[in-house]
Amino acid sequence: MKYDRILIRYGEITLKGRNRNKFVEKLRGSVKAALVSFPRVKIEASRDRMYVILNEENGDEIIPLLKGIFGIYSFSPAVKVEKDIEKMKVAALDLFAKIYKKGQTFKITTKRSDKSFQLNTEELNHLFGAHLLINTPELKVNVKNPDIDLRIEIREDAAYLSCETIYGAGGLPVGSSGKAMLMLSGGIDSPVAGHLAMKRGMGIEAIHFFSPPYTSERSKQKVIDLSKQLAKVSGMLTLHVVPFTEIQEIIRKQVPENYSMTTTRRLMLKIADEIRNRRKGLAIITGESLGQVASQTLESMYAINDVTNTPVLRPLITMDKTEIIKIAKEINTLDISIRPFEDCCTIFVPSSPKTKPKKEKVQFYESFLDFTPFIEKAVNETELIHIKPESQKEEDSFHELF
């Protein structure tokens, strides 16, 4: 007996009374995007369940993909059987035999939403329990803590059998909590911050500051590759690449060296905020972690955050580097992040940046020049890249070589 569908249980969506349909639709979108390479798959969504109908696609390849989708509490590969006791018995034993290892215990959980079915839950439990016990050597019952829980659901249209429950990523469907802009540097932290923001349902667009010739095409490629990785979760990611060379050169001329980093950050935030404004986002996400570097002290954040009152969300603020690295590994961004190319943050680092900059002082230094036209220009000249997971687009010229 082969699984023909995967039953998906929603996470916290269940709590969101009125918005539920919207959440279910977003989740359906995420599932569809994740399974785009399985064209025969069909998705059926209802208020309390979603089914991925496999139509002969390989379920074993689909399961790992479902594990990464936010908004799924758990899921179970299942078979749909006609509501005929004998047929159900055969299916149950088949399914069970596939995962049973000698000496394991089991129980049966029956749910009967079709109340007209000839047997009640008690009778069904007995019947199927006995059937498995008779036909499986060394099998024992354990209703408290079974190794295998065979679930039988009698619904209006058919009976559904499953015996594995796989936990999903939890969280909320991406895009169900509004849109925010992620400042994506190419380092280890910012992709993790973006991932966690998506976990709570945010839809994200990424902003990267690019300073040729001080940084190379490869550092940009790195950010594109990171975006591809993040796009696996959301199905698509918009990347804004801001030309930042001119502004960095001006800062170097205009602001004393030990304050240049603070000003740089302030201007980046201003630009990000303007892009957010144009893209109708509601927040800015950064990968800052308290005390990690000079710009991430509370004093620095206070002086930098001064330029906007848009919420600046910092999902990693209380995390240690080791915790961040662990997540980066899990979401496959670490290997990309540690490629050794300069980014705009590392190249202009002053020898001794202020770790406790004063807001008033940085405002004073910046007061001699109006940065607005430069910000305008940078935003207007920002390159927009739509990134799909595993996008072949920029490799097209190479395609014939492979």
Binding site: S216, D335, F398, L401, F402
Partner: protein, 380 residues
């Protein structure tokens, strides 16, 4: 010309040569260079790595590009032995391995490691019970080939991998140089820690190969230098060769879907017909062998003479493995299988590719019949 010596090497696909030429000509930059030409090369290399990984169902970071099967085998075995020598001193391998495995083992013996060489049964197959019996507390590595290069016997990789689940400290290396593209080898499912492949055995180019090294396994580098390939294999990367290999593997895997049945038919036809011919002993056991090799002996006729006689008919086959055939020593595998030396001495290996046809097989059979008759008259 009929080329039936594909286990020695294969003819590169034209498309593979095109890629190699185009990259060598247009994208010759060093992937480590900072400029654009370098970064294009780097992109090509990383795309080749991704394609290899996808085809082998592993992660891109687990593919190390090498110069071929010999390097991959040496690197896996010596690299692991040096890396884990504090853990133990004992290695296990079979008695029918390719010389790049067995000689590497011998070299390690000279350095103080102990090696157990497992026997094989009459079909050339390693027994899992023997593996289990050979395991000691200080065993650090087991190396078993996937498909034997001389007879074609498929070794019980799945079973050995299963057995090793109980021994997490023992690394499992598989030399898959002959099997790749003909026999499935799900590396992750079979618990393989390292796996060697060589491009010229599947219509790629000589001098290119790869070693799969499972994430978490460390190897002491054999080549020191510029720390390419995750510090594991120094030397400027052969980008054109790596891309050519990735292409060759993709094409081979695609051809396999349709070609494998045809190849099996050709093999079966050859073995059946040899069975009917008087005085021919077939060593390849069809049930336990890869579909691309047929090994047989014509007792009384020296294999070298046989090869040259067939060559006059424009048919190319080989005596045992190409590597040892020049040394005129009888097939190590056949001797290990218990085949008497005079018979092993007259053994011939036919090895197929997806390009070979049943018509070619029929022509070869006829030629063999003629040659056997002619030579028998002369030799007797």
């Amino acid at each position: 010309m009929i080329y039936f010596d594909n286990s020695a090497t294969t003819k590169p696909y034209a498309e593979v040569l095109d890629s190699f030429f185009k990259i060598s000509n247009d994208f010759f930059g060093n992937p480590s260079s900072l400029h654009g030409l370098g970064s294009q090369s780097e992109k090509l290399l990383s795309q080749a790595r991704i394609q290899m990984a996808n085809l082998l169902n592993v992660k891109p970071g687990e593919i190390i590009f090498t110069s071929g099967g010999t390097e991959s085998n040496n690197f896996a075995i010596k690299g692991a032995a040096f890396m884990y020598k504090k853990r133990g001193n004992h290695l296990i391998t079979s008695s029918v391995e390719h010389p790049s495995v067995s000689k590497a083992m011998e070299q390690l013996e000279e350095l103080g490691f102990e090696v157990t060489y497992l026997p094989v049964d009459k079909n050339g197959k390693v027994q899992v019970e023997d593996v289990e019996r050979a395991i000691r507390k200080d065993t650090i590595l087991i190396s078993v080939m996937h498909v034997n290069n001389e007879v074609g016997t498929v070794q019980p990789i799945r079973e050995v991998g299963k057995l090793l689940e109980k021994y997490p400290n023992i690394l499992f290396h598989v030399d898959a140089v002959q099997g790749i593209g003909k026999m499935d080898l799900p590396l992750k499912d079979f618990g393989v820690d390292m796996c060697s492949i060589s491009a010229h055995k599947f219509h790629g180019l000589k001098g290119t190969g790869a070693l799969f090294v499972r994430e978490g396994v460390g190897l002491t580098p054999l080549l020191s230098g510029g720390e390419q390939e995750r510090n594991m294999r120094s030397g400027t990367e052969n980008v054109a060769g790596a891309v050519a290999m990735a292409k060759a593997l993709r094409m081979t895997m695609e051809k396999k879907e349709k070609g494998i049945e045809k190849m099996k038919n050709v093999q079966r036809g050859l073995i059946d017909d040899f069975g009917e011919m008087e005085g021919i002993i077939v060593h390849t056991q069809i049930e336990s062998a890869s579909p691309h090799i047929v090994n047989f002996s014509v007792p009384g006729i020296k294999s070298e003479v046989f090869i040259h006689a067939l060559e006059q008919e424009h048919i190319f086959v080989s005596t045992t493995s190409a590597c040892s055939s020049k040394k005129k020593s009888p097939s190590k595998t056949l001797l290990a299988m218990g085949v008497p030396e005079p018979i092993a001495d007259s053994s011939i290996r036919i090895s197929l590719s997806y390009e070979n046809t049943e018509e070619e097989a029929a022509a070869v059979l006829n030629a063999i019949k003629r040659v056997v008759n002619k030579l028998r008259k002369v030799m007797n």
